[in-house]
Symmetry: C2
Subunit: 401 residues, 2 copies
């Protein structure tokens, strides 16, 4: 029902759960185990109990931790320890993680010596997230300029993919990837929200116009109810395992980026597109047998190429929770609350580690733990904290309206 009443009691209950998870389980874990006070930057290869598995520093994770501590300071409380933790990462990133061409390294060692750089500019998108949020927290113009400069570079590369080496010979297989579009969209939303220079805010919105257009024209197939990860340049389906791949977590993340943009613009069509992608992707991704979301599914129900396709990762679940909460708040439709509750129950009964804090990230299909680590080259301080911090803000907005 589109014009129902919001269940404010449920939202208050959720706010309590989010706040408790954030402040009791998540923040203490990363404050205690991730900050490298000797070299700067953040450790993130962390075992179940927080012990260090490796001292190398993936720059995705440096950037995400910078975002995390800055966001905490900006949104939750002006806690100087959080700001200091952010600054500890900012100096490390600025001094060690940026190459002379303005792009970022992918991996450095604990002292910040470069180990690896990748052809994709995804590390940079997380850099922009972190630098923007830090600029706001520390009121640091230099950090904002660095974010903006990096942002301009990735916008350029989005439009000129030929400037970076590609995996495929493009004369024979010219593909485009949803990851680039969704990351550019989200990154643009974050840097635009810093609101530093109003004269360029319409430039940001134009970039997002392009992203929304690309999603609609190329990646989303409404008749098949599928948002695809990889399509041909003209948007046609490539009949290979890659071309048929749906990543439900990515799709649902994209759905809430769209809903959020619709809200910002007051544009019902963009909200509707987000809701449509959310509905379709949950249907595609939910495991009716064991519950939880698959990591990869095939457009035609054929076997995935990913051997780990049926594993349950934490992040598609946190993305789904935020998307469903947002859908509920926007539409007031009880079906989204019911769906939220189903995903919430599975998520909160499988991922949290009540003994050592933080969440497990990698479960088998049946929900048993596959890897006990709390941090890896991929799992860090973005998805779960983002759900919790943004969820709290969304609930507050909704209740105080």
């Amino acid at each position: 029902m589109m014009d129902g009443c919001i269940d404010t009691h449920r939202l208050e209950q959720l706010r309590y759960i989010y706040s408790k998870t954030l402040l009791n389980d998540v923040v203490p874990f990363w404050m205690k185990f991730s900050i490298d006070r000797e070299n700067g930057g953040y450790f993130h290869y962390l075992d179940r109990d927080g012990s260090l598995l490796c001292s190398d520093k993936a720059v995705w994770l440096q950037n995400r931790s910078l975002w995390f501590f800055s966001k905490l300071y900006n949104e939750i409380e002006k806690n100087d320890e959080w700001l200091a933790a952010a600054k500890n990462g900012y100096e490390f990133i600025k001094n060690h993680c940026i190459d002379s061409d303005g792009r970022m390294f992918f991996l450095v060692d604990k002292q910040g010596r470069k180990l690896r750089k990748r052809r994709y500019w995804f590390t940079e998108t997380f850099g922009i997230l972190g630098l923007s949020e830090y600029a706001k927290a520390a009121n640091d113009r230099e950090a904002y300029e660095l974010a903006l400069q990096t942002y301009r570079l990735i916008v350029h590369l989005y439009h000129h993919p030929e400037e970076l080496p590609s995996k495929f010979y493009s004369e024979n297989r010219n593909i485009q990837s949803l990851t680039a579009t969704m990351l550019l969209m989200s990154t643009t939303q974050v840097i635009r929200a810093m609101d530093v220079d109003k004269s360029i805010s319409s430039d940001f919105s134009q970039v997002i116009d392009t992203c929304i257009g690309d999603i609609q024209r190329y990646f989303f197939k409404p008749n098949e109810r599928a948002l695809l990860e990889t399509v041909a340049q003209d948007g046609s389906v490539i009949n290979t395992p890659d071309g048929r791949t749906i990543n439900p977590g990515h799709s649902i993340e994209t759905a809430w980026f769209l809903m959020q943009e619709g809200l910002y613009r007051g544009n019902r069509d963009t909200i509707a597109l987000g809701l449509q992608i959310l509905d379709a992707s949950l249907e595609r991704g939910w495991d009716e047998t064991y519950g939880g979301l698959f990591s990869f599914v095939d457009l035609e129900g054929k076997p995935s190429e990913h051997v780990e396709w049926d594993m349950k990762y934490w992040w598609p679940h946190t993305e789904s929770l935020y998307a469903l909460l947002l859908a509920y708040v926007i539409t007031k439709d009880d079906k989204y609350l019911a769906s939220y509750d189903e995903v919430h129950a599975w998520t909160f009964s499988h991922f949290p580690d009540y003994e050592y804090g933080e969440w497990y990230g990698y479960l088998h299909r049946d929900g048993s733990i596959a890897l006990p680590v709390k941090g890896s080259a991929w799992k860090g301080t973005l998805h779960l904290p983002r759900l919790l911090i943004q969820g709290i803000a969304l609930i507050d907005d909704c209740i105080n309206q």
Copy 2:
């Protein structure tokens, strides 16, 4: 007991099982579903029932199928259909899979248009396997010359890794990989066995000397009972998830390459090294809870970086069976037969698909099927056929001795 009696009854029974599996389950599947009679080459993205999942052609798999059909012709029976199937791949590989620099592409489309080339020369090693075996089957000097030319290229690249782009900045993380060493060793054994030009056979053996030396000096840690996948240039352990990774399947494959070399040379030390690696790797890799071999384990028992670490793949099992059979035949020690029987029981009760033929490749830890495909970008016609064809030959040699 080193001087026990061979259980010839068990070996005859195994010969029967191998032969039946090869001729009833494996060969018909690939003859029926993999041969692209229109474009040449081989399909290999095959679903459980043989239906086509994708018409792209990975060159690893083209090369391995060329090896398979040629090896069948050379070892099992002079069947013209097998030779024709080999020729069908040879022409495709020669015309479409080799780049102008002598290296091979990694992926082409069904018509043979180049799609992808990788920085590693592993595709080429499978090319040498296939071309050598085909040269013998078809008595084709051109194919042998192509194999030899490709072989010379990879030997050069083994000694000059700096000529290919590396993932890591070598001034800060200079690593070496077991994969290169073990593949070069095996490839050299195969091309040497063609015995075309005796004047260069000592060149081949010198290359193998280098590989054995590198395994002993750098990759094998006898005190830790571990063959490592990646070590520093001086052989020291790199304390990262990658640096601590043991791949039991790889290790056990390396073990039988060594035993085989020891037999060829009549060198007890090389056999002993192979046996030591086999014992250590089985101990490391065997899952005491569910049976079967893990895909990746950590040197210190820490969590693996590979989310799929506990999955059971077909190929570590076929490699173990061949290694244990060889160990038993060489040593006549009953412990290897007992070990063989344990791995055999698990393997033959989990991987074969008695309904559609061929074997499943990708199981969950508990042995349930994760992916029903029979062929993928990695699974094709090397590991299972090699066990069966070489196993039959080994048993014949042993019984007829």
